[in-house]
């Protein structure tokens, strides 16, 4: 039997598991619209876990970063992405490069790798949330995998945003969050990043008539 844990830690573990589950369903998802919805849900779980850490560790600045997450990751960015999707007219399926069961198996391997990697690091940490570091790393690696395995620009951007979610979760779970200035900077960077991606989407489509990044491989001019 395991030693009894207090309720807050258990809740945090459940939220961390939820984050991992959302990452996996993103990996398996074919439709771009659903991907954006899942990204927003990942933001919701992230907000809840940050709030929970803030309450249990009595940290003022984590409340602000939870609010920031709620506004930026749950509302603003999914909204921008959905608008972009509608403007670009890309609501159809986005076929992954590899078939989905293979992708999931590779993902499972990545999760094992991440858990193994995090074990020695988290045994050195002192925070109550240290054991979730493995899950945070798994989320990051799964987002990487998603970026690699898709060939549409929009889905790659969603993978990028999901990776940022994983990094944010790793920060809150190991060190109780970064200083406020850094967090604000990252939030702003992400926002600007999404805007620039939006502009790129239109440029890419104008050049190649599609958002398939395989077109970019043919760089030589005729």
């Amino acid at each position: 039997m395991m030693p009894p844990l207090n309720l807050a830690t258990q809740l945090l573990h459940v939220l961390a598991a939820g984050l991992l589950m959302i990452s996996f369903s993103m990996l398996a998802q074919r439709r771009t619209r659903r991907l954006i919805v899942l990204l927003a849900w990942q933001g919701v779980v992230l907000t809840a876990s940050t709030l929970l850490v803030a309450v249990t560790a009595h940290l003022q600045h984590l409340y602000y970063s939870a609010a920031l997450t709620l506004i930026e990751k749950v509302w603003l960015m999914p909204w921008i992405l959905l608008r972009l999707m509608r403007r670009l007219g890309i609501e159809g399926d986005s076929d992954p490069l590899v078939n989905i069961p293979t992708l999931m198996l590779v993902g499972l391997g990545l999760v094992i790798f991440a858990f193994g990697l995090a074990q020695p690091i988290s045994s050195l940490a002192t925070t109550v949330t240290r054991q979730t570091l493995g899950i945070a790393m798994a989320v990051i690696l799964l987002a990487f995998l998603m970026m690699i395995a898709r060939h549409k620009a929009v889905t790659q951007v969603i993978g990028f945003l999901s990776m940022e979610n994983g990094l944010f979760f790793a920060a809150t779970s190991t060190t109780y969050g970064m200083p406020m200035v850094i967090e604000l900077g990252i939030a702003l960077d992400l926002l600007v990043g999404v805007f620039i991606f939006g502009i790129f989407f239109f440029q890419i489509r104008e050049q190649f008539d599609s958002l398939d990044l395989h077109q970019l491989e043919a760089l030589k001019e005729d």
């Binding site: 309720l7 258990q10 598991a17 996996f24 074990q119 899950i135």
Partner: protein, 317 residues
């Protein structure tokens, strides 16, 4: 073991056999409400059974004894399974003989019999359905075992009553993140194994989609009644496995007297009502998958269950 044990053992099986058509009727009624149709009677499955038992059975001339024996074998396997699953009380003498892995074996035996009988007559539909059923079965079985292993790891036992007891004895509520994964995987396996909508649609007789129905097309009268009853019993059993693993509260412990057993039966009815409604909602909101997507669906279930094991090792070791 107290004096009540043989009574509760027998009573559990009788209760499962009696309640299984009611659960099927309830799910059908909920589905009808959700699709704004006028709902069939809750007792319709019982009437179907009565009608079928009154009729004369017709058998194909080439049918072998296997074909005749299959309905009884399948029904027997499901009733035995009901004897192992602690749906009302943990005080089951039979559950000590067979653990949850034997339970999976029982389900596999029933599936093998029904697939063999489907091929026995030699119709095209029968063998097609048998092939599809075996494909789904061989993908769903490891996923189900992995789900069960999640619970086994937690309490160090493969017997279902021990798992119930472990959860009931734990002081305070413990949240297990690994059970969240196992729960999702279990629902997916339940849908696939009981021929429910994302995988199979038992309501249609459309040859390109059906799996379970195409295997039992050749059966009539009392044989068909037993097959149908067994499939309702299978759904009931799966629901009870789900309750044992994920919401064991309300199941009477060893020490409970007759009043405790009655209370446990009321609890079981409440849980079945909720589970049936949830099942109807899942079936209504999801569309049927193409048969080629079924392996993807079930490999997702398997992976989620394995992920549950990994999360358990990470967070609770």
């Amino acid at each position: 073991m107290n004096a009540l044990a043989p009574v509760s053992q027998l009573g559990g099986v009788v209760l499962a056999v009696a309640l299984a058509p009611l659960l099927a009727g309830w799910v059908a009624q909920c589905r009808a409400w959700l699709q704004s149709r006028s709902a069939p009677s809750l007792l319709l499955p019982y009437r179907t059974l009565r009608k079928l038992f009154r009729k004369d059975a017709a058998l194909a001339t080439q049918a072998s004894p296997l074909f005749r024996a299959t309905p009884y074998a399948v029904f027997g396997a499901m009733a035995t399974a009901a004897a192992i699953i602690p749906s009302v009380t943990t005080d089951l003498p039979l559950a000590r003989v067979a653990d949850a892995i034997a339970l999976v074996g029982l389900f596999a035996t029933a599936r093998m019999f029904i697939a063999l009988a489907a091929m026995d007559i030699g119709t095209v539909f029968g063998s097609m359905g048998a092939r599809r059923e075996m494909m789904i079965g061989f993908l769903a079985e490891p996923a189900l075992l992995m789900v069960l292993f999640n619970a086994f790891l937690m309490f160090g036992s493969t017997a279902l009553p021990t798992i119930v007891k472990g959860t009931l004895d734990a002081d305070g509520l413990t949240l297990h993140p690994s059970l969240a994964f196992a729960g999702v995987a279990f629902v997916m396996v339940l849908l696939a194994e009981n021929a429910r909508i994302p995988i199979d649609n038992p309501g249609t007789h459309l040859e390109v989609t059906m799996i379970h129905e195409s295997m039992v097309l050749e059966y009539s009268a009392r044989h068909l009644a037993l097959i149908e009853w067994a499939s309702w019993l299978k759904l009931f059993n799966y629901a009870c496995i789900g309750f044992t693993l994920f919401v064991p509260w309300g199941i009477a412990p060893h020490t409970a007297g007759p009043s405790g057993l009655l209370l446990a039966i009321v609890w079981l009815l409440v849980k079945l009502a909720v589970a049936g409604a949830v099942l109807a909602v899942i079936e209504t909101v999801s569309a049927k998958l193409r048969i080629f997507r079924a392996p993807e669906f079930l490999s997702m279930a398997f992976l989620l269950a394995v992920l549950g094991l990994l999360v358990h090792l990470l967070l609770q070791s």
